[in-house]
């Protein structure tokens, strides 16, 4: 019986790490650009489909893990340069609307290309087995997912904390004018950050494809959950996205067998409660 | 407390954590006077002002308006009692016409009566009448249908004061009325405040010394959250402590 719980806790960690990857991108973009990306879920969806196509063509999951985020990031970069850059100076309402439009285009394009029915992606051959601890067995791919996301998270943390780019992003979150004064091209920094944040959603999309497949209408659900994570953790907070992501993942996983809708109800209830009681989240800057 | 005093504070305090922005200020503003509060940067005059308007809740002491305690009343509830304020940073309805700005301001005084949602706004003749009267007084009648945001900077500052007038208050609270005004516009504002002083009780906080000296009946000088000196302009001007407080700032 206890094994069931261990199983679900591990599942929750895996799910939580995926939520972390999605949300950390959203939160970095919000932190630096003060921009709310309602297309984030759609880019995740694109990542999943790119994984499907790459695996279908080449049979190589690892290639999709590189190609997926690159393509998603590149598309995000183009969208930023062509469209989003025109609305930074406008109120949040317009950020929301333009990214809603982008999300619709991505979703409908996905249906045009891949059809209205979801696609499933096989677990990569290398990771099809299980890992045994005594009489407890756990799928290799799910363990890989946890470890791989953690590595990405660590690399991202190093990028933000230890590089010039990271220093600029952090400084820009505090005071964009000052970064502009330093002679940095703030718009290039914005584009790169937007592409990076969205590419992280792409990574999450690829990673989740072998587990949950690729579905055209999953964007809204993913976006909603990412908002929950970001709000609970605090908008703009890296560690908040990690803790929030794991919390949401664990709650969902533990509740699946009991009352799945109840999990969603709780999660969104928690989101509302956090905004009302602690608007800067559990880890956000006041 | 005599009828003569319209606004009074008793031991007013406002603390931000350990820092006392306002530290035991007792003011008495007499009816029908122009009372200026001045002081170097960080003296606590803006914090005091915020306690009077209801923007901030004092952490200690009381505020009495016409003998009624208003210490904990929210800002919007003070308007109905007869207090109105202007802002240091011009705060208008930029996209609405100048007349509509003033009409909405006049209507605000009636509080919940503005919740009427059946009759057209224009049917509220009294508010339009107030708006037109103030337009005239501010010499803005010709620009009544211009969007407030399209007025010149000086005109916007004048309208800013007019918005407070439209509430037909008994006490006008002006937050640095000449702030950001060009040299050419300042005399206009000075004359306006001087005129208003004949009909209203005016309390203002101000940076510009020469204005304060020329129009005020009473001046309170604040320093480090406390009242340093209070009295008519000549007394304040002659006071050595005032000079050293300002020199301290300059040094």
């Amino acid at each position: 019986m206890a094994n069931v719980y261990v199983f679900q806790v591990l599942n929750g960690l895996g799910l939580g790490m995926i939520y972390f990857l999605i949300s950390v991108g959203l939160t970095i973009i919000f932190g630096l650009l003060n921009f709310v990306n309602f297309a984030h879920g759609a880019f995740f969806l694109l990542g999943s489909y790119l994984c499907y196509t790459t695996v279908a063509w080449t049979g190589n999951f690892w290639l999709s893990l590189i190609a997926g985020p690159l393509v998603v990031g590149a598309l995000a970069w183009v969208a930023e340069r062509v469209l989003i850059v025109r609305v930074y100076h406008l109120p949040h309402t317009f950020h929301i609307l333009i990214t809603l439009g982008i999300a619709l285009i991505i979703q409908e394009s996905a249906i045009m290309i891949w059809g209205p029915v979801g696609k499933s992606v096989p677990v990569p051959e290398l990771l099809q087995g299980v890992v045994r601890f005594g009489n407890f067995a756990y799928p290799q791919y799910r363990l890989f997912l946890i470890v791989f996301s953690a590595v990405i998270g660590l690399l991202l943390w190093l990028l933000l904390e230890r590089t010039k780019f990271g220093a600029l992003v952090r400084a820009g979150s505090e005071n964009p004018e000052q970064v502009a004064l330093l002679g940095t091209n703030i718009f290039r920094l914005f584009s790169l950050t937007f592409a990076l944040g969205v590419a992280l959603a792409g990574v999450a999309g690829v990673l989740s494809a072998p587990l949950r497949g690729a579905h055209p209408f999953i964007g809204t659900e993913v976006l909603g959950l990412a908002f929950v994570v970001v709000v609970i953790g605090g908008m703009g907070s890296f560690s908040g996205a990690l803790v929030g992501g794991l919390l949401v993942g664990l709650v969902q996983s533990l509740m699946t067998s009991i009352w799945p809708q109840g999990a969603s109800l709780m999660i969104y209830g928690a989101m509302a409660a956090v905004i009302l009681l602690r608007p800067y989240g559990l880890f956000g800057r006041a | 407390m005599s009828d003569d005093v319209i606004l009074e504070t008793e031991g007013l305090q406002l603390a931000y954590g350990a820092f006392m922005a306002v530290d035991g200020v007792s003011l008495r503003i007499r009816r029908g006077t122009i009372h200026a509060v001045i002081g170097p940067n960080g003296a606590g005059k803006t914090s005091t002002f915020h306690c009077l308007t209801g923007e901030r809740r004092p952490t200690g002491g009381r505020v009495l308006f016409e003998g009624r305690e208003v210490t904990r009343k929210p800002a919007n509830a003070r308007v109905g009692l007869g207090m109105a304020r202007s802002f240091q940073l011009t705060s208008l309805f930029q996209n609405l016409s100048v007349r509509e700005n003033l009409r909405v301001a006049a209507q605000g005084r009636d509080g919940a009566r503005a919740l009427t949602f059946w009759r057209p706004a224009e049917s509220r003749r009294e508010h339009l009448a107030v708006a037109d009267e103030i337009l005239e007084r501010l010499a803005l009648t010709a620009r009544a249908d211009t969007a407030a945001g399209d007025l010149s900077h000086g005109q916007q500052r004048v309208l800013e004061v007019g918005m407070a007038l439209a509430a037909r208050p008994r006490l006008l609270l002006l937050d640095e009325p000449t702030s950001g005004m060009g040299v050419d516009d300042i005399p206009v504002m000075t004359r306006l405040i001087g005129e208003l002083g004949r009909e209203y009780t005016v309390m203002l906080i101000e940076h510009n010394m020469s204005i304060v000296m020329s129009i005020s009946d009473t001046i309170t000088v604040m320093h480090q959250g406390k009242v340093l000196v209070e009295g008519p302009p000549e007394v304040v001007r002659a006071d050595a402590r005032v000079r050293s407080a300002y020199l301290g700032e300059a040094a």
Partner: protein, 343 residues
């Protein structure tokens, strides 16, 4: 803190021109009546026409919040779906008549909107939006969970369309689609005229003032919270009514009524039509419902076009369709004036 206008889309032309005289007001109302009469004549079906008016009603209610008060609410689906459920349940379980069901939906919409509004307006800017989004998702999962009442995923089936009756005596039977359209049209015009009056009342002008500069409005003596909650209630009541009419139109109350996507659709109609213009809401609803109906058979991915239009509106035409009509009108008038002055 974000300034009070941070939620405001395009400075609404109609609301910013108080100089617009009563003749123009009457003109817009006449235009609406004309549109309501012409719609069923030019469209292939009266059911489609009824759907347009129902969504126009929902968009108009959304516009009261977004265009006039500056509040971007993702909660409109709660009131729409909630209104549909309440009216249906009243009719199915309590045998309620037409008016009881409609009034019930309006009261429910107003009450829920007051609660959602009272909580959401405690925050501003993006946090306000996030709160309405969270409530919207919660409402969806509540409806999903209460499947004994709502039918869950299958929706609530066999919703009746009772006749207009007084004291048990049937006056008008609404089962004919054309008759039902007429009924919806009468309600729509009533709501439209009422909304116009409200916008031009002291209450409405205060909402615009709050949209423009909430801090100043509060300093002028307005209890801005009270106004915003009332705006929510009003919007909720109208949206609830629209939801109830929609359930009666379809004889069905699907779960999708209360989904976040419904809130998005209502918002998109409002924005494409033009925020701050009530007639724009009719244009927006008509445009999108028609586009969906005409294109969905030929090109099932017509929603992509919606995405493109949305982006186009944000970048090129922030006044929406109505804003476009207005600037076109201005251009033509300016040209004519120019021609007249020319020798």
């Amino acid at each position: 803190m974000a300034d009070a206008r941070s939620m405001t889309p395009a400075p609404a032309a109609a609301a910013t021109a108080p100089a617009a005289g009563p003749s123009l007001l009457r003109g817009i109302t006449l235009l609406t009546v004309a549109a309501v009469i012409v719609l069923p004549l030019v469209l292939p079906s009266t059911t489609l026409a009824a759907e347009i008016l129902i969504f126009a009603m929902a968009a108009l209610a959304c516009n009261l919040l977004l265009g006039y008060t500056g509040l971007l609410s993702f909660g409109q689906g709660i009131f729409f779906g909630g209104g549909a459920y309440v009216a249906s349940l009243l009719m199915i379980h309590l045998g309620a008549g037409l008016f009881t069901a409609l009034v019930g939906a309006m009261v429910f919409g107003a009450a829920v909107a007051a609660v959602v509004g009272a909580l959401a307006i405690r925050r501003t800017g993006i946090y306000f939006v996030m709160l309405t989004l969270a409530f919207s998702q919660m409402a969806y999962f509540v409806a999903y969970t209460l499947s004994d009442w709502t039918g869950g995923d299958n929706g609530l089936l066999d919703v009746p369309r009772p006749p207009v009756a007084i004291a048990g005596a049937t006056l008008v039977d609404l089962s004919d689609p054309a008759v039902y359209y007429a009924f919806v049209a009468v309600l729509f015009v009533a709501v439209f005229v009422a909304a116009r009056r409200i916008i031009h009342s002291p209450f409405g002008s205060t909402l615009v003032a709050i949209r423009e500069n909430e801090g100043r409005a509060a300093a002028l003596g307005y209890d801005t919270r009270q106004f915003k909650i009332l705006a929510f209630s009003l919007s909720g009541a109208i949206t609830g009514l629209a939801g109830a009419l929609y359930a009666m139109l379809l004889n069905f109350a699907p779960l999708s009524n209360i989904e976040l996507v419904m809130s998005e659709h209502i918002l998109i109609m409002t924005i494409i039509g033009g925020t701050g213009s009530l007639f724009g809401s009719i244009l927006g609803a008509a445009g999108i419902v028609l586009l969906g109906d005409l294109l969905s058979a030929v090109w099932p991915r017509w929603m992509m076009l919606l995405g493109i239009v949305l982006i186009g509106v944000v970048i090129f035409m922030r006044g929406g369709l109505w804003g476009g009509v207005e600037s076109l009108y201005d251009t033509i008038r300016a040209r004519r004036a120019h021609r007249r002055t020319a020798p």
